[in-house]
Every structure is written in C-alpha cells, then in structure tokens.
Symmetry: C2
C-alpha cells in the first residue's frame, strides 16, 4: 500500500488507525474503551482532525496489537520501500 | 538494536532522535534550525521530556532524512522483529 503526501500526516495516520481497527472488527467505541480514550477523540483521530501525541500513538498501536513502525510502514502512512540507512 | 520498555516511549524516542542526529554529525542547534524548531525544544525531546506530536515527529524524521517507521524500528524505540500482521 503506497502513501500519498497530498494528504497531511494527520489524515494518513487517521486512515491507518481506521484500517487497522476495521481489520480487528472493532467499533470506535470498543477501541476507545480498550485504549482508555474518548470515543469522540477516536472519531477525530480517524478523520485526521487531531495532531496525536507520541503517548497516544503508542497507546493506540498497543491496543490495536501492532507496532508503531508496522502501522506507519504498512498502513499507507509512509512508503514501505525505504532502505535502512 | 533492541528496546527496553522500562524506559517510557518519550525517553526511547528522544534517544533515537539523538542517535540519528549524531549519525549525521548535526548539533542540536543545526537540527533545530533545519527543522524550524527551537533548540531548547530539541534538547527537551532528546531528554525524553516532551510528548512530541505527530506533526513534529514527521518534521524531525524528514529533517533527519529517515522515515518514521525506520526511526521507530531501527533506533531502539521498538523491537525490529515483529511480523507484519
């Protein structure tokens, strides 16, 4: 899955969260409860309306059973082809 | 390089930024100037004192010439061994 820099990092991140949540068959409310976050916050994140902090990125990734790096590499936030420097 | 969950995500992130900055031979001040951020902010980030936002994570990674996922996978923030789900 590629990524598209015409969309902001917030929008690409939100779409990645939604995609992974849907893969797990969770509702926004279920994800919110599991992550200890507000349902409206999850909705805002998924619509690219939040500049999510590192701590909440970590919380969301853990709740979604995925590493942050896999989320960024494989869910359309960034290209997956970068060579390790 | 492994990661150590006894350290917070902020501390692990800060160490990764410092490690990558040193690889490039940049001072904190040079990184700050290139990224359009404050030098004291960079210092705080590297000491794990900041809960950095997505937009600034993106800005720092771009300035350091690395993808966010490579930064998280290969600079001691997270384990690099996770299978793609």
């Amino acid at each position: 899955m590629g990524h598209d820099e015409q969309f902001s990092i917030e929008v690409r991140f939100g779409r990645a969260i939604r995609k992974r949540r849907n893969e797990l068959g969770l509702s926004q409310e279920e994800l919110a409860d599991l992550a200890g976050l507000h349902r409206t916050y999850i909705g805002d994140v998924e619509r690219g309306k939040r500049n999510v902090s590192l701590v909440n990125i970590d919380k969301l990734a853990k709740t979604l059973g995925i590493s942050i790096w896999t989320l960024f590499r494989d869910y359309g936030i960034e290209e997956s082809s970068e060579k390790t420097p």
